[in-house]
């Protein structure tokens, strides 16, 4: 997994609540047996019209969202299905950071395991960011080490919370399985003790 320390990039604003993983990556694209190549299908039913053309009224197709790598969304982002294809698609499309007031638990875990930083900010701060980035290019700098977000002119500044465990994983791009296997003796001892 790619390490994430400081990330600077353009934002895309998705002013919608309860965006579920069925929207992020519709089921017809879950049949691949690889982890890669899902970006082309991200938000497929919203992004493209039935004739296959991009729908200009969808937020990610706004010129202001060109090359966005930071996604700003409303409450309960990533709800529903546990499909990890959702963060795979977001990442493959180019997103490294998501900012929202709240996430579904499974989606949050799936993000950090793929090197995407899901930032939780209070609602009013998220709405301020949405205003700022709604109709123009709007760049943010996200500093994971110091848990800070700011825009270019430092008009917007905020700090965010993150579990120290996930922070360390993201900062270092660690493979979690290798870490766990360092505790193999503990796992063996547990199996002996409870006879599982």
């Amino acid at each position: 997994m790619e390490a994430l320390t400081v990330h600077e990039g353009n934002t895309a604003v998705l002013e919608r609540a309860n965006v579920d993983t069925d929207q992020i990556i519709p089921k017809q694209f879950l049949k691949r047996v690889e982890r890669t190549g899902f970006g082309q299908f991200l938000f497929f039913d919203w992004r493209f019209k039935s004739d296959g053309e991009e729908d200009p009224s969808f937020e990610l197709n706004y010129p202001s969202a060109a090359n966005a790598s930071i996604l700003i969304a409303d409450h309960n982002f990533g709800s529903g299905s546990s499909r990890e294809h959702a963060p795979w698609a977001l990442q493959d499309y180019g997103f490294r950071v998501i900012i929202a007031p709240s996430y579904s638990d499974i989606f949050y875990n799936n993000c950090v395991k793929n090197g995407i930083l899901p930032v939780r900010l209070p609602e009013d701060q998220v709405y301020e960011l949405m205003q700022n980035g709604n109709d123009k290019e709007y760049h943010l700098t996200v500093d994971l080490q110091n848990q800070q977000i700011s825009d270019k002119d430092a008009d917007f500044q905020a700090t965010f919370e993150i579990d120290p465990y996930w922070k360390e994983m993201l900062l270092n791009g660690w493979d979690e399985i290798s870490i766990t296997l360092q505790y193999e003796e503990d796992i063996e001892a547990y199996e002996k003790r409870v006879k599982v």
């Binding site: 919608r16 047996v33 546990s82 465990y165």
Partner: protein, 471 residues
């Protein structure tokens, strides 16, 4: 000793490592696997040369892609590749698989309990959000992503932060003709689509105690639609009776010993939860969802809301967007909504009890003109049992299609889907945009309500139906 909840008991029992301020390393007792969320995990093991640590605690099935007609000849090449990949992976890594030809094949959350793999006190995971279903047995069961599937395959553990606990108390007795599906849809409608976020829910109260195991599974199944990490019910005699004599459950004296242990798991009197919500059972009516998330539901005698009914600017907008997608006018009576499809299936409501309830209403009636109605049993076992009882004949004579098992039209990964712009009364769990097909409009209901809609062509209060309807 301080009184404890079942959640605390299971948690403490499974902590392999617990350091303050860090997630705990939790042992996993049962790992269920299916074809959609596992190929990349097995591939990861192969690339790093790791084995499956405990194939004996891992069990696989094929369900999401499986056709419900001619199930053995999959025409979609990519679906077939996913099915074949699971077959090869299970063979290579030594994992037992209920493949497409097995009489034990079926939806992962239906076969786990059916085979007795699901037991009280176990930690159970699967790369599927509806894993919460298994909580009905007093197990701590939750959905995980594919990276975590690989982690469990390699280590039989997961890093997890201790959950917060919430009691969801259904107070008093249910009215006649009100089902488990109506309870859970009412809970989500009342408290919201993410009220359970960060919590494990325990469902309590007389109304819950009075439910069969299958009905309890329907409730726990939809805990994820409330955003909860898991949902469970303390085990009791109903649980033990269900489990007796199932394939993976110990027999004889060993079973009795197990039952004694399982009894100790139930939440102690006076145990404290981090949060508690209460819903009076007598306010629960047969429910129908009108929107595009499972909290957007109302009783059968209700109406479709106005965007202005939303409590915040965000909620007003959410209602407006949902109504646009669903093509519904505010103020429409629920009983005036007509459907073109009826789907009786899914891990929420496709067990034998669900089919029996629907068949009671269907028997001697005909599906209304212009409606395509379909029964997809949750497993091949359920299908065989229903055929033994003659339920297939009841459905077929009424004009229902009678299919093989699978996830089917709940998410439309196989050939079963709802066409664009059409409306479906569905016993499944998600009414998201496009869930049952691009542009499809889903109304979530109980099996009885789906049966009523099939006969009348619109939603009806099934409590007021005579046994036979002249249509």
């Amino acid at each position: 000793m301080k009184p404890r909840t079942i959640i605390d008991k299971i948690w403490n029992e499974h902590a392999v490592r617990a350091e303050a301020g860090k997630p705990n390393l939790m042992y996993v007792d049962l790992h269920m696997v299916h074809e959609v969320t596992s190929p990349q995990a097995f591939e990861g093991l192969r690339l790093s040369g790791r084995p499956v640590r405990r194939p004996d605690l891992t069990f696989a099935t094929m369900d999401h892609n499986v056709p419900t007609l001619n199930r053995e000849s999959i025409t979609d090449a990519i679906s077939k590749k996913q099915i074949d990949t699971l077959f090869d992976n299970c063979k290579e890594f030594g994992v037992e698989l209920a493949d497409i030809h097995s009489p034990n094949n079926g939806i992962v959350h239906i076969i786990g309990p059916e085979l007795g793999l699901t037991q009280p006190g176990k930690t159970i995971v699967c790369g599927d959000s509806h894993t919460s279903t298994h909580g009905a047995f007093g197990a701590l069961a939750f959905g995980i992503g594919t990276s975590e599937v690989e982690h469990v395959l390699a280590t039989q553990t997961l890093w997890q932060s201790p959950p917060k606990t919430m009691e969801v108390h259904v107070d008093g007795r249910l009215g006649t003709g009100v089902t488990a599906k109506d309870i859970i849809l009412s809970i989500i409608a009342k408290f919201g689509v993410d009220f359970g976020s960060g919590y494990v829910l325990e469902y309590t109260g007389e109304a819950i105690r009075g439910l069969t195991m299958e009905e309890r599974m329907t409730i726990c199944n939809m805990s994820i639609e409330a955003g909860a990490r898991a949902g469970l019910i303390s085990p009791d005699q109903v649980t033990f009776d269900y489990l007796k004599d199932r394939r993976f459950v110990p027999e004889g004296a060993e079973f009795d010993e197990k039952v004694e242990q399982w009894r100790q798991l139930a939440t102690d009197e006076g145990a404290e939860y981090d949060e508690r919500v209460v819903i009076p059972a007598d306010e629960i009516e047969p429910m129908v969802t009108w929107g595009t998330n499972p909290s957007q539901g109302v009783g059968i005698h209700g109406t479709v809301p106005y965007p202005e009914d939303g409590k915040s600017a965000t909620e007003k907008k959410v209602i407006k967007t949902s109504l646009d997608y669903m093509a519904l006018e505010p103020g429409t009576k629920i009983t005036d909504i007509h459907v073109q499809h009826v789907f009786l299936g899914s891990c929420t409501n496709a067990r034998i009890g669900d089919l029996r309830e629907a068949a009671k209403i269907i028997r001697g009636n005909k599906v209304a003109d212009g409606i395509r109605a379909m029964v997809v049993p949750g497993s091949q076992q359920v299908k065989m049992q229903a055929e033994e009882e003659g339920l297939d004949q009841v459905f077929k004579e009424a004009g229902f299609e009678w299919r093989d098992s699978g996830c089917s039209m709940c998410l439309g990964m196989n050939p079963d889907f709802v066409p664009e712009g059409e409306r479906c009364a569905s016993t499944s769990n998600r009414n998201f945009e496009g869930r049952q097909g691009k542009g499809a409009r889903t109304h979530l209901v109980s099996p009885a309500m789906a049966a009523g809609a099939a006969i009348y062509g619109h939603f009806v209060d099934v409590r007021k139906l005579d046994q036979t309807v002249s249509s």
